[in-house]
Amino acid sequence: MTLASPSDFQAPQQSSPDQGGPRGLQPEGWLRYLSFSLDHKVIGLQYMVCGFLFYFLGGALAGVIRTELASPISDFVSRETYNEVLTLHGTVMIFLWIVPVVNGAFGNYLIPFYVGARDMAFPRLNAVAFWLIPPAGILLISSYFIKGGAAQSGWTAYPPLSLTTPSLGQVIWIISVLLLGGSSIFGGINFIATILKLRRPGLKMMQLPMYCWAMLGTSILVVLSTPVLAGTLILLSFDIIAHTGFFNPALGGNVVVYQHLFWFYSHPAVYIMVLPAFGLVSEIIPIHARKPLFGYTTMVYSIIAIVVLGLVVWAHHMFTSGTPPWMRLFFTIATSFIAVPTGIKFFNWLATLWQGKIALNSAMLFACAFIVNFVFGGITGVALAQVPFDIHVHDTYFVVGHFHYIVYGGTVFIIFSSVYHWYPKFTGRMLDEHLGRFHFLLTFIGFNLCFAPQHWLGLNGMPRRVAEYDPSFTTLNQVSSVGALLMAVSTLPFLFNVVVSAFRGEVAGDNPWKALTPEWLTSSPPPVENWIGEAPLVTHPYGYGAPADRLDLKMVTAEQIWNDPKP
């Protein structure tokens, strides 16, 4: 494989004065971030900012939970409020923070660049998908203030509990999740169409940056599984509103069928949250290690394997429910085998780092911590896949610890890493490195302090979703709460950094990381249709190291990368 030769495309022009350039978010243009904009970059940043707002809200809810759990008795909020808070925390973090940001924000911003398009396939649908989110989120939050309060049955909303708790809050929860699911499906359709149908002429599937493959796999999961959740929740709302008995045993219904249908979506949802993070880290590591992504082909096949296996493992969430023995066995084996393609990805990232020239900046610190956290969460995950192991720890704090290592230690760490990595592209300015490292240190310590002890708590008898617990678990719960406090504090340097750097940050230039992926081969921030002139044909987005003389770090701008005269 050789690099694209400079004659394959026109050089992108340097930032033109009327297209932004290194001036941060144009003050005169900030209103477009509140508009029904069709620009994929604006929509991407809308997803991002909206997602972070909900992250802070979900974090505040987590703060309530950890404060309540700092003592073994129920003393901070009422038990009903506690259940509302834990339901809202789960729903907000999954449907309003991680899924929209790791798919919607980065997907919308990066995918058109990566396929060499000027926008997404369906810009209007794209804008609709985003603008479904704020009303859905506000609706969900508002249910807290109505009579009876918000839903109290956890984000899983298992009947018959969800049929007996205050019904208005539960119905609002259903409507809100249906809206968010619709938004997710629209987004998924858009990504599939953009990646498969809008690639620049000459660009082959196996030349795409890995994030495209991750988003393709994710979107397939979204399109196949989210509608099942939607149908299930519609049936659940019938049970609540019309008093049908689909899931009501008192009326002849079957509660376990709900669990099957729910997890048919909600297990793939884990991959919907994690696969894009795998894609993003595959972009970040090669750039900062100055090495090609190791094993591109196997990375692609492992994504495909994860998508296929991810659809047939849902019942491992139901080992202690009403599942017959043969089913437990099948789902144990299927779940365990997901570890193989996932393992391949981790070994490939390590091999990418090996013999690289690693710049351990904030983006890279978060990316490497992601590897540590996710390997830990993955190991406990394989253990949880084993029926006998799971029977003891299912629905305990062990599971809480496990999935926070996956979704927080995995995905949220990568969201932070990606913000440090792409902020110069978004705004044209760099984030402050010292603050970034401080943020990393606080987050990493806080995170591990918060969630590592929960494994021990679960093994020793603390169930999840409780407001009160055996006093012998007090010390470790307090350690966990201190960790949560550290995590809360850690967002302050981050917020300060992001806001101040937008105005005062060091000017980044178009390509501060000297990267080869297409979004860096245009100005920062990019012009409205991504490139002045034709889109570059990047057939080898990870071509670091060869040929050494043309791709060394002396190059400063995108223009120079590609127009450097041959030696």
Partner: protein, 211 residues
């Protein structure tokens, strides 16, 4: 590596061949790219089909494990739904004829076939209503009654939407030029959707009435 990638590469080649026509002008205007709306619709229909798949799976599981309570009423007549099935299958053919009419430039034939399709769709909905009013059980009578109404009702909504789409297309073909044989997206989309609704009905008929 080459041997492993060639398959995907060919696939990529095919789709990029399609793209070239639309992207021949490198300095395209905003949104100027190949028309992939039909592809998007097909993807959406996959999603929609999964909703039905979820319902079907729920129904089949209920049937497999949940006993029908004693003295409960769940009986279905077979005649009316079978006639309805025939109507719907027929309407797929008539819609196909409408599309062929447009391609051949026979505007009037296209309109007539569309009208027939819409009429068949309406007849199906009417038949469904008649069935609803004559069924001996109500929505909340028992688990199977509820599932029956949920499945047929959700499908009926799809048919209703389909009839509306057909009527819109029919209206558009009234004024010449709104739908041309060269860019018949509206008609093609409505047709694809209609075939989808038809196909779902066949599965539904098989599972709900025949099984």
């Amino acid at each position: 590596m080459t041997s492993l990638t060639s398959g995907t590469g060919d696939l990529a080649q095919i789709s990029s061949d399609v793209d070239i026509a639309g992207q021949s002008d490198g300095h395209g205007e905003h949104g100027e790219h190949p028309d992939v709306r039909l592809f998007g619709l097909a993807t959406f229909l996959v999603a929609d089909g999964m909703t039905f798949a979820g319902f079907f799976a729920a129904y089949l599981t209920f049937r497999a494990v949940n006993p029908l309570p004693e003295n409960s009423n769940y009986e279905l007549e077979l005649l009316l739904p079978s006639i309805n099935t025939l109507l719907l299958v027929l309407s797929s053919f008539t819609f196909h004829r409408a599309g062929r009419g447009l391609l051949r430039g026979e505007g009037q034939a296209c309109r007539s076939w569309l009208a027939i399709t819409a009429a068949l769709g309406l007849a199906f909905l009417a038949g469904q209503m008649v069935e609803y009013f004559h069924l001996p059980f109500g929505l909340t009578d028992n688990l199977f009654a509820s599932t029956f109404y949920a499945l047929t009702g959700f499908h009926g909504l799809h048919v209703t939407l389909g009839v509306i789409c057909i009527l819109i297309v029919w209206w558009q073909t009234r004024t010449a030029g709104r739908i041309k044989a060269s860019t018949p997206f509206g008609l093609e989309a409505a047709e694809l959707y209609w075939h989808f609704v038809d196909g779902i009905w066949l599965v539904l008929y098989g599972i709900l009435y025949l099984l």
